[in-house]
């Protein structure tokens, strides 16, 4: 059951966040966030809606700008310097709730585009890489279709392949399964579990507590823009410390 023992975690820091604050206008969304993610770690972030968990991981690749504190990703500090931001973004893969595939391009073109334009890889080689990862997510036969012709689960797996094609060192997941039908959730989670077993550093915002138990080596609970509790999954689920966490867990595990 507990597969975490197999998965190595190194001492190298992949994401370091210190004293980070963010406001939307005057609304204080993230308050004094301190978080260190080591290479190979798999972090699950959970919490009620509006708790700032999505904003937190969107700050990691600068889709949202933070106003104070420090974020260091893969050894590069996030500043307003656009060169740094583009460099970090090409090293960090991101998955979205609504997949955000490019509807005017075929599946294959979705996967090769960034390789060709950002990494300057020749087209033939980019296509080879794309097919490799499409095979890995088990949909190589859809390569010439358009995203609109695929099911939600397939689209999310294409999105995973698209990110993997950039050979990212870190993957961020922003509620990757919450827009999917129940039967499609599994196929996406299976793909994510495989990724974890390959040693990918992952930060996942999700309500899939089964996934958290099986894959995560740390679960972070957020509420009102702050980290309320973090622990190993067994401890977190079986022995939550704060009242807020207990209430949350009773609500989502209750049914």
């Amino acid at each position: 059951m507990n597969r975490q023992a197999k998965l190595e975690v190194s001492d190298e820091v992949a994401i370091g966040i210190q004293g980070m604050n963010k406001w939307f206008g005057s609304f204080h969304v993230l308050r004094d966030i301190d978080l260190t993610v080591n290479r190979g770690e798999r972090i699950v972030v959970c919490g009620p809606s509006g708790s700032g968990k999505s904003t937190l991981i969107r700050c990691v690749n600068a889709l949202e700008e933070h106003q104070s504190g420090q974020i260091i990703v893969d050894g590069t500090e996030l500043t307003s310097d656009i060169k740094n931001i583009d460099k970090i973004r090409s090293e960090v893969g991101m998955l979205f709730q609504h997949f955000n595939l490019f509807p005017h391009l075929t599946i294959l073109e979705n996967c090769t585009l960034a390789q060709i334009w950002v990494r300057k890889i020749p087209q033939a080689q980019a296509e080879e890489t794309a097919m490799h990862f499409l095979t890995k997510v088990k949909i190589p036969e859809q390569a010439d279709k358009y995203p609109g012709q695929l099911s939600g689960g397939q689209q999310q797996r294409v999105a995973i392949a698209r990110s993997l094609c950039m050979r990212p060192r870190i993957m961020l997941f922003d509620e990757p399964t919450s827009a999917l039908d129940p039967e499609m959730i599994k196929e996406v989670l299976d793909t994510m579990i495989e990724l974890a077993e390959d040693g990918m550093t992952m930060m996942v915002v999700t309500h899939e507590m089964g996934f958290a138990r099986q894959v995560a080596n740390r679960v972070i609970f957020m509420d009102e823009g702050q980290i309320v509790e973090q622990n190993e999954p067994e401890e977190f689920f079986n022995n939550p410390q704060s009242d807020r966490t207990k209430l949350f867990l009773s609500q989502i595990l209750g049914h």
């Binding site: 973004r89 955000n100 585009l113 334009w117 950002v118």
Partner: protein
Amino acid sequence: MAENNASFVRHELIKEQVPPVSQRGVVKWVSENLISSPFNVIMTLLSLWIIYSIIVNSAPWFINGIWDAKSVRECYDILDGVSGACFAVLKERFPQLIYGFKYPSTEYWRPNIAVVLLLAALAPVLFRKLPQQLLGFSAIYPFLAYWLIWGGTPLVAVIAFLGLAFGIYCFRRFSARSFAFGVIIAVIAASFFWVLGGYLSEANETFLALEAVPSRDMGGLMLNLLLGTIACSISIPLGIVLALGRQSNMPIIKWICVIFIEFIRGVPLITLLFVANVILAFFFPPDTSIDLILRVIIMMTFFNSAYIAEVVRGGLAALPTGQYEAANSLGLDYAQSMRLIILPQALKISIPGIVNVSVGMLKDTTLVSIISMFDLVGMIRGPILATSEWNGVYWELFGCAAAIFFVICFSISKYSQWLERQLETSNR
């Protein structure tokens, strides 16, 4: 199948059959669309009667039409009281309607070739399936067309083209360091080339020269097409740039674009044309004479681009923010994400609007008749109707102008619908 027996096995598959007669083909269409209810029947009969009376009343006018006559008097004499059109005016004044009344008649072949080549140059732009090497010809075409229509030595066009190519080469070479640096170097290089080339072409004015035709001698449908084609082809890229500028994070660029768009949209085109005709000359150095066509083209381009900018902005706003985020999260920079992800989708959404504005622009080229340029409508109102021979032949002339514009605009509209279907990827 026995009653009350829930188990059932089909041993033979039912073959595909055609629907019954009343449910297919003409019968179905007629019964659904023409006679589905009493009210529908009445409307059908009424429509048939209206169509019938239009045809019966107008057919003699067309059929009795006179094609050979020297004046409207002669037309009436031949018709001798019978209803009929005097199409002779179209035949006799055909060159004037098409080329205006001053373009040298020995040189009509030049605009003719220019139009044929225009179709060839547009083809690879409009139809992506054609070999894209043809785009090279599209790039040369504007310079070739300038030489054909205005005449003079081809050196002017060649130097303009080479200067532009040199500028683009310099931009490619230097823009790696910084975009602004590349633009500045390119502008300096191209201007330098043009100034030097200007001396060269002035010194060799007769080299391979065609008979020069000054701008004020352009007229007829040729002038409409000239203005419409140039204004549309410049204003679409300019409109896209304005739309992107309006969304820019850089306040100065943003405000320049906003003020430009709002100002131009707030002013009637006629006013801008009068500005082009009279006032714009004050803004140029005293001795330069920028010719009227160029001034009108500048104004029409500005006018059209402001509208296109707003249409494109609508397309940009219609895209989900997820598309911007996905492009960013893959590490694409601003130019790449716009060119590869955002604009292809936003422009696809904007096609109906862009076509709407462009067709409107093409028709608005007839407004130049108000600032005494003799375009198709200007020719009809002025040199043709004002003569004693053809005074009063309104229907034939304006009907002809309407038909010409309708054919052109309807083709553009059909093309845009076809293009939309081609770009449809979601449910193919």
